[in-house]
Symmetry: C2
Subunit: 126 residues, 2 copies
Amino acid sequence: MIQLNFSKSADGLLPAIVQEAETGRILMLAYINQQAFTETLVTGYAHYWSRSRQTLWQKGETSGHRQEIVEILVDCDEDTIVYVVRQQGGAACHKGYPSCFYRRVEDGALQVVEQRVFDPETVYKK
Amino acid sequence: MIQLNFSKSADGLLPAIVQEAETGRILMLAYINQQAFTETLVTGYAHYWSRSRQTLWQKGETSGHRQEIVEILVDCDEDTIVYVVRQQGGAACHKGYPSCFYRRVEDGALQVVEQRVFDPETVYKK
């Protein structure tokens, strides 16, 4: 049984960094509690705890862009993990980009460095 | 001027993921406040806010294992950043491993998957 150090953060949640297995690209960061971590281990798909909705959340449950777990890494302090995943649908970001980190700091401003894969308006219909 | 969303977290700190430029490997995660972010931009070396010591911290100030900034990426919600770095000394982890994520989940336990680069006892002398 793997014990993570949930008491390290002010809100009892730990960050999960998501890295694409094939490319090594960092796709996103989200938060986990014990329930989300357990669901991820049991199902083989990335689950998180939504801070805004205060609910368990399977990545891709609305968009279909699920994240199949390839491996899970744990850091020295057991307070951060990495999900290495196969990203379904080619996009992790709810704004339609492959990665949430689609902007780079350049000359004191943010420059977009990726191309959109989908239009969020059509994927997240009301 | 780049505005990050420091109000998104309970303690006013944001996670900074550190990725090695040459290998794409995720080295560590630490936290920043505005002061740490500004120092990083101004000096070109990664700075953080230490949650345990409650102080500004330049990575490598004790070990010499500084992190030279190659680029900085910002996520869609402006509440997480990536420092892409050249890691000096070949090791980011205070336990002597190249990456803090030197263990993998295997059969419900943690297996070490990296080799130590240095002995922490000799680097962090009292």
